[in-house]
């Protein structure tokens, strides 16, 4: 198990976005996390990433408990994430954004960077090579030196994945990577997700709204509704679960389909 979540409960002044959620992600798996709007999917990612502090529950990453750590500490342990609304560094180039993913693998400080000679220069060249590999992997070559602010949203989403991949994470958290993408971009995304899984062997926890993508790609699916887990298992089973249909489509539809 790369990630194990036990009894995760989150509370904001009387609101309960998550209640006793438990789930786990296998090594090398592409695990989908789905649910209707407001089900608490992003809250799970924010708890794992350290952006929210859960009221109760435990999050185990590898051998260590990580609940309560600061986001940068969690990132340093090898959890990378992308955001629903990309959250890229808009005033910087694609290359610089991806190089920032290398931050945790680099060492030079302010003075060494200012002098830019010897070790810091070699380090920069070395990590530039790694960044270029990511750029090639995601087919972003022609955007390499462009500013983020000038790129279409679909490309920005890929750059965000590139920045996360540059961290060489053990676990990659993806928050609705397909949102705002057209059909062709989604097909490309599906290809990249499979390549990340099979070639880089990175474990992924993937929040997604597009059930077609989930059904085709995910190894396991966990379904949340109103902050509680209502189903989990292989996609073929879970997506046919009447409880899941009810969560998404309402009781009447689920009953009708169940009867038919």
């Amino acid at each position: 198990m790369v990630l194990t979540i036990e009894g995760l409960t989150l509370e904001f002044e009387g609101l309960h976005p998550l209640t006793g959620v438990s789930m786990s992600v296998d090594d090398g798996a592409l695990a989908a996390l789905v649910g209707p709007n407001g089900a608490g999917k992003t809250c799970v990612l924010n708890c794992v990433g350290g952006f929210y502090t859960p009221k109760a529950g435990r999050i185990r990453f590898g051998d260590a408990m990580i609940q309560g750590l600061a986001p940068y500490q969690i990132a340093a342990r090898g959890i990378a994430r992308t955001f629903q609304f990309v959250e890229l560094f808009r005033g910087m180039s694609v290359l610089d954004n991806i190089l920032l993913g290398r931050h945790r693998h680099m060492r030079s400080g302010v003075l060494a960077g200012g002098i830019f000679w010897g070790r810091s220069r070699r380090e920069e060249t070395l990590h530039r090579r790694r960044a270029e590999e990511i750029i090639e992997f995601l087919e972003l070559e022609r955007h390499r030196t462009e500013l983020i602010a000038t790129l279409p949203f679909g490309v920005q989403k890929l750059v965000a994945i590139g920045r996360a991949l540059a961290m060489e994470p053990t676990l990659l958290l993806l928050d609705e990577p397909s949102t705002g993408m057209n059909r062709e971009e989604k097909e490309n995304l599906a290809r990249f997700l499979l390549r990340i899984k099979h070639e880089l062997r990175t474990t992924m926890l993937w929040v997604e709204h597009d059930m077609e993508l989930v059904g085709d790609l995910a190894d396991t699916v966990t379904v949340l509704d109103f902050g509680r887990k209502i189903a989990e298992g292989p996609p073929a089973e879970v997506l046919r679960d009447p409880l899941v249909a009810e969560a998404y489509l309402g009781r009447a539809y689920a009953r009708e389909r169940g009867a038919g």
Binding site: G49, A75, D96, G114, S120, E124, T125, E132
Partner: protein
Amino acid sequence: MRGGGYFKTTYAADLALVDTRLRRRALAALVFLLLVLPRVASPFILDLVAQTALAAVGALALNVLTGLAGQISLGHAGFIAAGAFTTGLLVENGLRSPLIALPAAAVVGAALGIVVGIPALRLKGLYLALGTLALHHVVLYACAEFQNHWGANTGVSVPPPALGPWVLKGVVAWYYALTLAAALTLALSVNLRRSRAGRAWMAIRDREIAAESVGIDVARYKVLAFVWSSAITAVAGALFAYHRAFVSVEAFGFFLAVEYIAMIIIGGLGSALGAVLGAAFVTLLPHVLDAMVAGLRLAGGAAYYLFPLKFGAFGLLMAVFLLFEPQGLVGIWRRVRNWFALWPLRYRPLRSAS
């Protein structure tokens, strides 16, 4: 944008700052020009260049904090005063060597940077501006106390810096020394922009949450930005004290802090070249205005009434740049450069048929 025809085969070549033959020649020409300038220019011009270079050191330091790390500071004059008064204090106590004064100024500046940087973790935007303004007043108050304590109410005189038998004196020597200081600071700033720490600062400027998510310790890097910027600024203050040969609190008023903000905004926020251009612009503007007023040959007291124009001109120019050229002088430079790079096939915006 870079012109076509230069094909690089290594990442080291792509990282190089001076990467084309044209750029190498331009840099060589600039260095040559700066070296021979004392032979052709008048002492007045040399002094202006030296002042510009000194201002550029301070502007480059502020640019790291505000332009790269995105932390606004109105306390810049305070940091300069801290460096200048550290030098004054040491000189008063018999420690005259610049080898002591300059590092001491850097240490005092760095310490002040920590003092401001830690509360700055909780302050943003306007509140940070007010917080740093408070620092400015605290530092100036402390400096004024020292000044009175020494019994010299008007200020402290600083002898020229000496290394053994060699004494830094005269317009030409100061011209070389300050230009070299500015060149070194420029190199540090430019290098920071293409290395890990500078990128981390820009990441914090653009999106703090995302910076954390890639593993940047945001608090640490914010304090580092203050420490780095204020240490260099304090060194600039020490050089200022030696250059003027005199330290007095009157020289470090709030208007000085505004001038430095003006330099980096007029020059182009976030750009090292912009900071240098802005420093030149703000330093030379009063002299240009003086020359223009003198050139008008106005009768009697009219010139006297034009004097306040100098102060008004700053405000007006800041507003004009913010409105019409938010990228500053460096934005104009980039457009001119692109025009030549694309000539004669330059892009013309489409016009409507009417």
